[in-house]
Structure formats: structure tokens, C-alpha cells
Amino acid sequence: MSAGTPKSLASSGQKPIQDICHPLGAEEVAPAGLRTPSPDVGNATSSIGEKDLSLPNGTPVETSSPASSSSLLNRLQLDDDLDGETRDLFVTVDDPKKHVSTMETYITYRVATKTTRVEFDLPEYSVRRRYQDFDWLRTKLEDSQPTHLIPPLPQKFVMKGVVDRFSEEFVATRRKALDKFLKRVADHPVLSFNEHLNTFLSAKDLNKRQGLALLTKMGESVKYVTGGYKLRARPMEFTAMAEYLDMFSQKLGTMDRIAQRIIKEQSEYLVELREYGPVYSTWAAVEAELHEPLEGVAGCVANCSSALDELTEDMSEDFLPVLREYALYVEAMKAVLKKRDNVQAEYEAKLEAAAFRKEERATSVQQVPTDVERCQDRVECFNADLKADWDRWQSNKRQDFRHLLTGVADHNIQYYEKCLAAWESVIPLLHDKQPQEAETD
């Protein structure tokens, strides 16, 4: 905790603002601090077991909830949940607002909740959260639900100047991504019952410990690295998952590059079109009989230009962010897979040790197996959770990409329809003066 204190001091620079925004003060500091499991700060290797052991402890609230009592049951309910019929938690992120203080400038978003769940005191909530708060939530979820796939947050962009973080476009894109993130969490049969989500959605003030969270993250990443040895019997399906993720992220990267290239080509095309139209107007100015037809074509090119502008905008605002969300999703999924491997590795190590000891002396047979069994349980639990999340993710992905790509097709169809309408409206203008000339159409 000694490391955590100066960190929280450092971040206390934002405290006055927090106070301004959320007048309900620092009452919850103590419970929040207690809740953070101390082993996280401790040394890496020994904490694997302890930390993961704290899993059942870390989710005591959930044991009472129907969802987490049995992950098997959840899996059966999964499909129903997707249909939205059993949904009882609705969240939206909207209404971004800019806050300017002497210390910093930041954006908050309104997080609105509607629910019938008994875990919530009220049926509706509306709080304001900033990006950091979402980050806090995600870290908390990751810590308390290590066997689950936590949806990704949009990229942080710490580097100032690279992106204008206060531009309307950036804020709109981020709002969408945050909304998506929160909806994904709220739709998850396990994550949606997490107490931190409850706090995030309902508490006036979060009283989060950024510093601690940061340390936790770092500690864990160290653990992953140490767990990188080859497993004896990794189930085929997880190897297949890892392979799939590698290939899929490659394809996502390629599509991202293609989309960016298309946007670039389209913008350059737009520049030329914007020059092209007015040339017809210039020409129209020196013609008598042809004045109207040429002006017509000029107007038509202008219409097509604005249709193209919209198309390009739609592509960069709707298409690219989803690709990027999925790229981050893949990373999150890979992290969960690694965690699973770690748990299995621990189990295998313990099993080996037990077998070795069994050979040495048969007397202590009673003691060791409980430990091994516990580990085995954890592995199986993890596997089950992961598989459920994987299936859920696959099905989400399928839906999302179907939606996304049909959207792309729709945007393109709309673009061509606008151009078509423009050019068709020009034809009578060209024919008007000499109707007898009317040729093919």
C-alpha cells in the first residue's frame, strides 16, 4: 500500500474537480480501499494462487445472484439474453460535456441506467463519468472477474497534440465506443452483476484509486510473462482460439488499412471533383445555347461531391471505430487466454508435484489432492467461463460485422442513389431545348 499512497496523492490534483462535479464526498474511501485486494501489490509468483483464490471471495455479492451461482446455467441462458427478452439492465452513454478547470480540461458523459434488478435501489440512475472512470471500471472488472473477457475501451490517446481530444468528432466517436463498452458489460450474464458496475452506474462519486489500479495492472502483466512456458495438455480448442485470434487480428489490420486507403482515395477524388464542377460553370459563362446544360452538369457534379463527402464521413465515423474496437477485443481475449494458461500451468505443476510425492510416501495422500483438486476446479471453471465468453463473443462478432458490413453496403448504395438522382435530373435539362433530338435513355 505504500506504493499506492503517493500515487493517490499525485492523482489528488483532480480532487477539487471531482468535488465540484460530485459534491458527495470521500465517504467511501475506506471500503473502496479495503476492497482492493492487497496481494496485487505483492510479489508476482506467489500471488497467482492467492489472487485467484480470492476470486470466490471477491465476488461474494454475486453468489446470491442467479447469474453467477453456476456458470453452466449462464451458458444455457446465453442465447435468451441475446434476444433481449430477459434483459433487465439498460444503459446508455450520451450527452458529452466539456469541463474546464485550472488544473485540466476533460469531457464527461452522462451514463443513464434503467433497471428492474433488485441489486439496484432505484429503477433509474443518471450520473456523469469521464474516461478515467470507465478505465477504473474496466480495471475493477478485470481484477474481480479474471476468468471473463472484459470488453475493450477505446484507445486512451495520452499523447497530446496527436489527436484533438476535444474535437466534436473525437468526442462523438469516443462516446459511441464507451456506450458500446458499457452495453456489452451490461448485457453480460456475469459481468452485469458485478458490484463495481453497480457502483459505476449508481454512485454519485466513485472514489477510485487510480494509482492502485495502475499498479495492479502492471503486477499482472508481469505474471503473464512468467507463465509463458509450454503447457503439457492445453485443450485443442484453446490453441485453435489463439490461432484464430492471430489470424483474425491480421485480417482486421488489413481491413483497417484498406478502409483508411479508401478514405484517402475518396478524399482526393473529392478534391478533384470540387474542381471539376466549377469548370463547367466557367464554360457555361461563355456559352449561350449550352449555358443551361453546362450549369446543370456543374450542379450535378456538386451534388455528387457532397454525397461523396457524406460517404467518406460515414466510413471514417462508423466503419473504422468498429474495426478498432475488435482489434482491442482480440487483445483482451488473448490476455484472458494467457490467464487461463497460467491457471492450467499451476494445476499441472501441482499435479506433478503431488504425483511425485505420492511415489515418495503414500501417507500424505490425504492432504495434497485437496489442493490439486481445487486447482483443477479452477481450471475447469476458467475453461467453462472462457468458452461461454468465447461463444458469446463469436456470436456478437457475427452480429456486429453483419450489421457493420451491411451498413457499409447501405452507405454506398445511398451514395450511388444520390448521384443517380442528380444525373437523372440533368437529362431533361439537356433534352429540353430540342425535344426532337431525344435519343436513347
Partner: protein, 438 residues
């Protein structure tokens, strides 16, 4: 077709399978106006049926490759009345012979806005298009352009009656000699002379000044339009082709997926089709560019008429000036006064008066010159009047033709754009169906 050194033989071979191509060409001819019944095009069907590559020695005995074009002609009656269509008369012409024909027409009919030839080298094209003179697409576009040129001349009320033009269509061998025998080159005005005239004309015709101004503006705007269009085509090509990459990535991605696989795979095919469709679209658009290019080059013909007018006007003014000078001289001699300072006045003052006989003889000579001068002015005036009249008639004809043609060109351009949009909608609708199945 194989290159052959003996033109006649090729012509015979060329005869065999021409009718179908001919019919097709006939349809494309509708672009060209068919004027009053008197034009040659009414009586004769003219096609540039095909192009062929040849290799031969040029004037300085160097090996060179060039294209020749097969011109077919036959009386229209045979076609319309369906009496066993006689095999058309055919002959081969080089581009340079077309040039010679056009130069001859320009010099012989200075008051006519002579149709331009298609460009010798591909200019202002988008990057995908080859600038190679031997490129098959370019040769084909030039074939269409040359045919268009022949139709323009053959349907022109004045040019269509020209004997040399008729010979161009019918006499392969002696035609060149015949052209040179007309001595048209001697009549050609040098550009320098014309330039000189342009600067010194005192009373220019307002209409021709406006026309010149217009042709300058037209040239500027059309060449700018062509340039921007080429860039637009370049960019459009890029947009379409980059979409082709989706085809590949969808197909690769589909291999990873179970339920989504089929939809992705077929959507990928549609993206391939989308990328490929741009080639035809832009090739077709090149025809529009060619139509604009014809009018870009027409501006030169317009300016040539203006130049000729300036030259005529200049000659008239010079003659008038000359006459005025003579008249003044005569008056001076008659009255013995020198109104303006002149060398002659000085000498006569210094060296004494001329004898009466001398003066009389001089006056008589001047009177004769004045008479001649007045005759010249009369001629020049008539020449100028005639020129203005005929030229203006042809300019009016040209303007009508231009308005009609360009309107047609814009219509066909709009139709092209419409069909491109429809293709785009089709491809994306197909792709959407595939995505929906995912």
C-alpha cells in the same frame, strides 16, 4: 492482320469481311449531321473500317512503324435499296495523308471552319491510358476520330463538293501528286504574315474579334476541363481498385469463419467485380473526352478563320492607305503645294521645279495608279465582303453543330454516369445480400 508490304493485296483481303463492321459503324455515324440532300454523305457511305500497323522506310531511309487506315466507300443507293450490296471500294491511308488533306482544305477554303483531325499523340489522358501511338486502344480511338473527320467533311455543304476530297476517298495512288498539283502550298499564308496583320489592322470587325475571344476562352476552358477530368478519372480508378483488396481479405477471412464464411466469400467476389468494373467505365468515358477534344481542336480552326479575316482586312486597309497616298501625291503635284514635309518636297525646293512635261507625265502615271488602286480596293472590298459573308455563314453552321454535338456529348456523359451509378447500386446490393446472410 499481318503487316504487308503490298497495299493492294491487303485491300483485297480487307474486302472480304467488311459488311458487319460497316453496319456497326453506320450506327455510330448518327452523331454526324446529315445536311441537305446535296452533301456527299447522302450519296456515299464512308467508313474507316480498320487500322493496321505497317513498317516501312521513310524519306531519310529510316525504318519506321506507322498505322494505316482502311477507307471504304460505296454508293448509298445500293445499301438502301437492298440491291445486292456491291463490295465497297476500299483504300488505305496514312495519318499523314489525312493531315495533307486537311491542310489542303484549310488553304483552299479559308472561310470554312474545317473539322480537326483526332490527335496525333494521346494527350491529357489519365495515367492508366497508354500514350503509345501504337497502342491498340489509341489506334482504335483514332480510327473512330478519322471516320468522324471524313463524315464531317463529307457532310459539309462546301467541302463535300471538293474534287481532291473525293479523290482522297477513291484514288489511292495518284492522289498525293494531285494535291500538290493544285499548288495550294503557294496560297498558304505564313503565320508571320498573319500575326503581322493581326497587330496592324485598324478597323477590325467586332464580330470576328468576339469570335476570336470566344475561341480562346473555349480552348482554355475545355483544356482545363479535360485536365481535371483526367485527374478525376485517376482518382476514381484508385477508389474502385482499392475496394478490390476487400475481395482478397474477405476471401482469406472467410476461411477462418464457420457461419460467416459463405457470405463473406461471395461478398468478396462482388468486391472483385466492383474493382474490375471501373475499367470499362473509364474506357467508355474516354469517348466523352474525345468528343471534347474535337472541340478543343476546333478552336484552332476558328482562329484560322479569324486570322484569314484579319489578313483580308489588313490587305484592304493597306490598299486603301496606298491609294490615299497616291491621291495626295497627285494633289501636291497638281497644286504645287507640299502639305507635309517630304524628301521629295525638299529636293524639289533645293534643285528647282520640274518641267511641266515631267509633271504632267508624273500626274498621268499617278492617275493610272490611282485608277488601278481604286480597282484593287473594289476587288479587295468585294473579297472581304464575300469572305465575311461566307465565313459567317459557316461560323453560324459551326455554332449550331457545336451546340448540338456538345449537348449530345453531355447527354451521353450523363447516361454513362447513370449507368455507373446503377452498376454501383447493383454491386453493393448484391454484396449487402451476402452480408445479410452472415
Amino acid at each position: 492482320m499481318m503487316a504487308d508490304s503490298e497495299p493492294e493485296e491487303i485491300a483485297v483481303i480487307g474486302n472480304v469481311d467488311l459488311t458487319s463492321a460497316e453496319l456497326k459503324n453506320n450506327i455510330t455515324n448518327t452523331m454526324v449531321e446529315i445536311e441537305k440532300s446535296s452533301t456527299l454523305l447522302r450519296k456515299m457511305e464512308i467508313n474507316v473500317a480498320e487500322a493496321e500497323k505497317r513498317t516501312g522506310k521513310n524519306a531519310v531511309n529510316m525504318q519506321e512503324t506507322y498505322s494505316v487506315y482502311l477507307i471504304e466507300t460505296r454508293p448509298v443507293d445500293a445499301v438502301t435499296e437492298g440491291i445486292t450490296p456491291a463490295a465497297p471500294d476500299t483504300l488505305w491511308r496514312r495519318y499523314s495523308e489525312f493531315e495533307l488533306l486537311r491542310n489542303y482544305l484549310l488553304v483552299t477554303y479559308p472561310f470554312v471552319v474545317v473539322a480537326p483531325l483526332p490527335e496525333k499523340r494521346a494527350e491529357i489522358v489519365w495515367h492508366k491510358l497508354s500514350a503509345d501511338n501504337m497502342d491498340p486502344d489509341f489506334v482504335e480511338r483514332r480510327r473512330v476520330g478519322l471516320e468522324n473527320f471524313l463524315h464531317r467533311v463529307a457532310s459539309h455543304p462546301v467541302l463535300c463538293n471538293d474534287k481532291i476530297f473525293y479523290m482522297f476517298l477513291t484514288e489511292e495512288k495518284e492522289w498525293k501528286e494531285m494535291v500538290y498539283d493544285t499548288g495550294f502550298q503557294a496560297k498558304a499564308d505564313s503565320r508571320l504574315k498573319a500575326m503581322n496583320a493581326a497587330f496592324r489592322v485598324k478597323n477590325p470587325d467586332k464580330r470576328f474579334i468576339e469570335l476570336r475571344h470566344y475561341s480562346d476562352e473555349l480552348q482554355t476552358v475545355v483544356s482545363q476541363l479535360l485536365r481535371v477530368r483526367a485527374r478525376v478519372a485517376d482518382r476514381l480508378y484508385g477508389v474502385y481498385k482499392v475496394h478490390g483488396n476487400y475481395g482478397r481479405v474477405f476471401s482469406e477471412w472467410s476461411a477462418l469463419e464457420k457461419e460467416m464464411g459463405d457470405g463473406l466469400q461471395s461478398a468478396g467476389h462482388h468486391m472483385d467485380a466492383y474493382a474490375a468494373s471501373i475499367d470499362d467505365i473509364l474506357e467508355e468515358e474516354e469517348h466523352y473526352a474525345d468528343q471534347l477534344k474535337e472541340y478543343l481542336h476546333y478552336t484552332d480552326a476558328l482562329r484560322a478563320v479569324c486570322r484569314k479575316h484579319e489578313l483580308t482586312q489588313f490587305e484592304l486597309e493597306m490598299a486603301a492607305q496606298d491609294l490615299a497616298a497616291k491621291k495626295q501625291q497627285k494633289e501636291e503635284l497638281a497644286t504645287g503645294t507640299v502639305r507635309i514635309f517630304s524628301l521629295k518636297g525638299m529636293t524639289s525646293k533645293l534643285f528647282g521645279q520640274e518641267t511641266a512635261e515631267q509633271r504632267e507625265a508624273k500626274i498621268q502615271a499617278l492617275e493610272k495608279q490611282i485608277e488601278e488602286g481604286e480597282e484593287t480596293i473594289k476587288d479587295k472590298n468585294k473579297e472581304s465582303d464575300d469572305f465575311v459573308k461566307t465565313a459567317w455563314l459557316d461560323i453560324e453552321r459551326f455554332k449550331e453543330q457545336k451546340d448540338r454535338d456538345l449537348k449530345e456529348a453531355l447527354i451521353s456523359y450523363a447516361i454513362m454516369q447513370i449507368s455507373m451509378c446503377k452498376k454501383g447500386i447493383q454491386v453493393w446490393t448484391n454484396a449487402k445480400e451476402c452480408f445479410n446472410k452472415m
